[in-house]
Amino acid sequence: MARSKKISVDRRGFLKGAAAGAAAGAAALVVKPEAAQAQEAIKAQEAAEVHRPATPLPGAKQTAAETTPPPHIDVWTTDRPGSDFMVDVIKTLGFEYVAANPGSAFRGIHESLINYGGNKMPELLTCCHEESSIGMAHGYFKIEGKPMMVMAHGTVGLQHASMAIYNAYADRVPVYLLLGNILDGAWRRSDVEWAHSVQDAASMVRDYTKWDDSPVSLGGFAESAVRAYKIAMTPPMEPIVIVADAVLQEEPIPDAERGRLQIPKLTLASPPAGEYGAVKEAAKMLVNADNPVIMAGRVARTPEGIQLLIELAETLQAAVIDRRFRMNFPTAHPLYGASTVGAADVLLALEVPDLWSMTHTQTPVNRMGMESRRITKSGGQVITIFAGDLYGKSNYQDFGRYDEVDLAIAADAQATLPILIEECRKLITPERKAVLQQRGAKLAEQSKRNRQRDVEQAAWAWDASPVSTARMAAELWNQIKTEDWSLVSDLTFVSNWPGRLWDFDKPYHFIGGHGAYGVGYGAPAAVGAALANRKHGRLSVNIQCDGDLNYAPGVLWTAAHHRIPMLNIMHNNRAYHQELMYVEDMAARARRGVERASIGTTITDPNIDYALMAKAYGMFSEGPIENPNDLGPAIKRAIEVVKRGEPAMIDVVTQPR
């Protein structure tokens, strides 16, 4: 065995000795001061002793015990800890980065990654909060299409990370999470390690992860690590958890195992396409429809997904309604947003979660959702292609209400599109094609009118202060439209203005939203996505909500520290605004105190200075900007900083939405 074992003394004894040595060293500084300092120290001590009882000096026996070197010193070293092998395994999976807030339960792997692994593939990203680590991995995947690895404590770290994991789960994003844990109580070195250990580490997030394992050997670790990657990347994609036991990490690889340890080959499963007969039936319904409408949820997994959706829409000359969970369809395409659910005689829903809320409206009589009305056309039909039908869990309710549909295809939509397009083409006769072309021309006119309407609406409050979100979007677009840009934030909280005014067409132009609407996702997801954009030289733009940033603002430091270029524009409406509106709603319903809805929902008194916050974290910043005329020049200056390879922030005081 390669372990260097000079003399056998137990580890606890060694630690005790080390602590005693440190105490003795500290004592030496007190008894041998410089003369003047000694006099002052004695005087100060005498003064202090007037007020408190004297601490007794150690007796001769205790002094001897604490200063005499122990007869035996136990030195544990190794040239090959188990964590080195774990790093070998991790490297085969091709991670570019591993995000972590440091934690003792995975210190072995941490050390192996930076020394044995050379801190390359993966490179360690220093995070200030586990929620940031997961959020960064979430955003990174949306651009890169590959998972980022995250390390966390199996207990306190996972507790911090849990909300972000739920977001990734609901957003069908694979995050590869490695938890440290000390399963065997005999190996825990302190009360801290007892408090940081757990019997079943992954149990806390099992409701919203796809798979987990706690291997008890290095061979088992290799197999589970590779299996986990495969499971995470098979649609529906989800986060996974692997628990790396600290003893496996820190103990040497047994000699007997060194020649036998193997890393299994990774082969990703091809995504499941829809059953042929069902796809043929869907094609027939769509081709014969008078006004088919395509609704896109999380369709485009890869750049090819966008092209396939364009192909299907153009083949059918059907309007596309984009739920904006992914970059699915170009916003300037003549079929984009050109019809409505209510106008569809056949609605094709592709990877749309909670379809019910898209096909129903709630009446104002009962706002809690008990009373509703279907808005699809009478006699209209609904087709779904949804990987969520292949897999689901019950506790967390992100699956939404059950919707009645006419044809449900349990499959990955992108994988099914080529067959569906082909079947549609087979059914379109020249006569039918002429009809479809006429429909397409009308839809193109509608799409153009929508665009004109949006531009006219953007003019309202153009000169207002606080700055309107439409003005903010227009000023941004003016500065980035000639760049290779990427919007690394959601559109929900800014009235979708970028989606209405900008031309989104490239796969990296948009990353979608939270998944589970867990606030605190925005800032770390933007940093992760910007990191993925960095090697391509893209200009990452993050429209950052103020409430979101305050969950874990340390991610700004991570962006500055790792030189992640990104333009952050604060959407600083000084409130948890959705909640402000909800409380207002409740007060109006209760017929009292609508003027008090701001209590507990606004972020004022004092106003937070985000420019100062960014500076504190080492980031270029300007603001707060309240005059809309100041915004354009400020954005220009910030982009110059970003082009130098750094993050920058402009704090903009904005209208609520």
């Binding site: 300037a332 104002p364 706002r367 665009r451 004109q452 531009v455 006219e456 609406q457 953007a458 003019a459 309202w460 409050a461 153009w462 207002a464 606080p466 309107s468 979100t469 439409a470 227009a474 000023e475 677009w477 003016n478 929900t492 009235s495 979708n496 005014l501 031309d503 605004h577 402000l580 509106m581 207002e584 709603d585 007060a587 109006a588 319903r589 017929r591 009292r592 609508v594 003027e595 809805a597 701001s598 209208q655 609520p656 939405r657």
Partner: protein, 121 residues
């Protein structure tokens, strides 16, 4: 034009605009209306300039008289909650209406260079 036709047109116009036929719009205090607009949270969904957004419709420069506004606020459609007279009185809503009349209309997009560039795409 015959008097009967004029009367019919007038009735149609009154119904379309929500103008009560035989009542006069009461005067409103725009300054107080501004305070109420902020205090009672109208801006939350409709914006500080009444421009509207994802959460609420534009209420600046709309062709609704004070009575029409009061009627709508008491029994709104869509997502807006109903505000009873216990929460905001008719006179206070009239003041809000008066404030809304002071909000500027938008310039045409063609007169704003950044928007004109988008429009001409």
């Amino acid at each position: 034009m015959k008097p009967l036709r004029l009367l019919v047109l007038a009735v149609v116009a009154i119904l379309a605009l929500g103008i009560p036929a035989f009542s006069q719009t009461p005067a409103g205090d725009a300054a107080n209306g501004k305070k109420l607009f902020l205090r009672d949270g109208c801006y939350e969904c409709h914006g500080y300039a009444g421009q509207g957004g994802a959460a609420g419709a534009r209420i600046a420069a709309i062709g609704l008289n004070a009575q029409g506004l009061i009627r709508y606020v008491r029994a709104p459609g869509g997502q807006m909650p109903a505000y009873t007279d216990k929460v905001i009185s008719d006179q206070e809503l009239t003041d809000v209406w008066a404030y809304l009349q002071t909000l500027p209309k938008a310039k045409p997009a063609k007169d704003i260079p950044l928007l004109n560039a988008l429009q001409s795409k």
